[in-house]
């Protein structure tokens, strides 16, 4: 479904991604783990199109995405959940969700019902300004917002950051259910061990902008094996 080939990206002149190769198959949940500054968020931005790659190819459903804008990529079915709970703070919950309708223009129907089923709090707080909600609730909103348009691929950028562990667990569970129910493919980046173990079918490890390892589902349960990619 999604392939990155020798993807490199830079801020100004500082290279942050170096020749990243990565594949996500239809229906998978794939994680990318790495420490702070490993280039995880940059990878997400390069895939969604917020950052122009220096070189390399991003392919979605077999088509090269070069030359398309972020909004066009979203329109064809990629749902993006930015890091740091980037909801629109002075829009209400409902208005935030409405923005998500622009994702995946070719869907059959909106997923408001499903979103409200997974995250009932969002229905309760429909008219509340998003900026006044707690971190976990904002994270749920950010996910719900990307889901409303029924994306085929979800890009999830560190949903555990700054959120209570119990909520992270809940969110991870919801995402697994969602993957099972709707067949939504998920690519997420994370440095929280628990979240990775809870969600990922398989996982890439990233260090200083490079993919350094690929870890299958069995190895994922071996904490010691993956901790080295995460420990500070």
């Amino acid at each position: 479904m999604l392939e990155c080939e020798e993807l490199s990206a830079a801020y100004d002149t500082t290279l942050v991604l170096r020749d990243v190769d990565l594949t996500v198959n239809d229906g998978e949940i794939v994680g990318v783990m790495g420490k702070n500054g490993a280039g995880k968020s940059t990878l997400m931005k390069a895939i969604i199109g917020l950052l122009e790659p220096k070189s390399g190819v991003v392919r979605y459903e077999g088509e090269d995405l070069a030359g398309t804008n972020a909004n066009e990529r979203a329109n064809v079915g990629i749902g993006y959940i930015p890091q740091g709970r980037d909801v629109f703070p002075s829009l209400t919950v409902e208005e935030n969700l409405l923005i998500g309708e622009s994702v995946n223009r070719e869907r059959d129907h909106d997923l408001y019902d499903e979103v409200y089923r997974y995250f009932p709090i969002l229905e309760e707080r429909r008219d509340q300004k998003a900026g006044t909600m707690s971190g976990g609730q904002q994270q749920m909103l950010a996910i719900g917002r990307a889901l409303v348009g029924n994306p085929d691929l979800l890009l999830l950028d560190e949903h555990s950051e700054g959120v209570q562990p119990s909520i992270v667990e809940e969110i991870s569970e919801n995402l697994r259910d969602l993957n099972a129910d709707l067949g939504t493919t998920v690519l997420f980046v994370e440095q929280n061990l628990g979240a990775i173990q809870d969600m990922a079918d398989r996982c890439y490890a990233m260090e200083r902008g490079r993919i350094v390892d690929e870890i299958g589902s069995d190895e994922l349960q071996d904490e010691d094996a993956i901790a080295s990619y995460l420990a500070v």
């Binding site: 909004n71 629109f88 923005i99 998500g100």
Partner: protein, 291 residues
């Protein structure tokens, strides 16, 4: 002091401040671009209206033409110039200043220093020994209608919600499929159209000359700066506050003191409220919700 006089005067000032500021406020509030050519956009609206009316088009239709002309001009300028400067907001000020310069002198070259003016429609309201222009009362109603219309547009329509999302976080909005380029273009066109509307509405009451835009700038900038970040609320509140101050002091002490009182008020507001009048309202609202 006749209370009706004061009321009319207030309505008049309110309309003038709101209509002067609203186009500037939309472009600034939604896009962060300070359009130094704002006055010239108003001038274009006034010219469009006056020229159409002189050509025999009925006044209401002529006003629509004035608005359209300005909107189209805004569209072209956004597509060719302004969009290249979104990440260089200060340069965009220089660019819009230059556009204003070109517009003023371009109109002068094309149409001369003056064109035949149109007269104010709708006649007079008389009361006691006083009388007042009906059209000017209508203007204040229009000003309210414009504010209400914008409120609905920006809070009740999908376009408005997307536009607000775009200004809050353009990257995230884009990543969620919002065509932010189009949002910017649309917003700039709406702001231009509003400036054009101001020109169209005031064309029958003001002297339509190439340099007329400057007579709107004081009110427009003062209103925007004391209004604060929330465009509509800010414009409404500044129109209300400055309108009252100006009306009161003008009525009591004359035009000069009206203007000075208005400007002093602006300075006090800026000093006391760093987020302008809307900041104050938000604070009060938060405090009330907190209790």
């Amino acid at each position: 002091m006749n209370p009706l006089n004061l009321l009319f005067l207030f309505a008049d000032n309110f309309a003038f401040i709101v209509l002067s500021a609203v186009g500037l406020a939309v472009i600034f509030g939604m896009m962060g671009v300070i359009n130094l050519g704002h006055g010239e956009f108003i001038m274009i609206g006034a010219y469009g209206t006056t020229l159409s009316a002189n050509a025999g088009v009925p006044l209401p239709l002529a006003m629509v033409i004035g608005v359209l002309v300005t909107a189209v001009m805004g569209f072209v300028l956004e597509r060719t110039i302004i969009r290249r400067l979104y990440d260089r907001l200060l340069d965009s000020m220089v660019a819009t200043w230059a556009i204003g310069l070109i517009l003023t002198q371009g109109v002068r070259i094309a149409l001369g220093n003056s064109i035949p003016q149109i007269s104010t429609p709708l006649g007079t309201i008389a009361y006691g020994e006083f009388s007042y222009s009906t059209y000017r009362v209508v203007l204040s109603v229009v000003a309210l209608a414009v504010l209400a219309g914008l409120y609905v547009l920006f809070t009740r329509t999908e376009f408005g919600i997307r536009a607000r999302a775009t200004i809050q976080d353009p990257d995230t909005a884009r990543a969620l499929g919002v065509d932010t380029d189009r949002m910017y273009t649309s917003t700039f066109v709406i702001g231009s159209a509003l400036a054009g509307l101001t020109g169209a509405l005031y064309a029958p009451t003001l002297t339509v000359v190439p340099g007329m835009g400057s007579s709107f700038l004081v009110e427009a900038f003062v209103a925007v700066v004391i209004g604060g970040p929330s465009v509509l609320l800010g414009t409404t509140l500044s129109g209300g506050l400055l309108g009252v101050i100006d009306a009161l002091f003008t009525n009591l002490y004359g035009t000069f003191f009206g203007q000075i009182a208005m400007l002093l008020t602006a300075i006090v507001v800026i000093r006391l409220l760093s987020n302008g009048l809307t900041g104050l309202v938000e604070d009060v609202r938060n405090r009330m919700e907190g209790e």
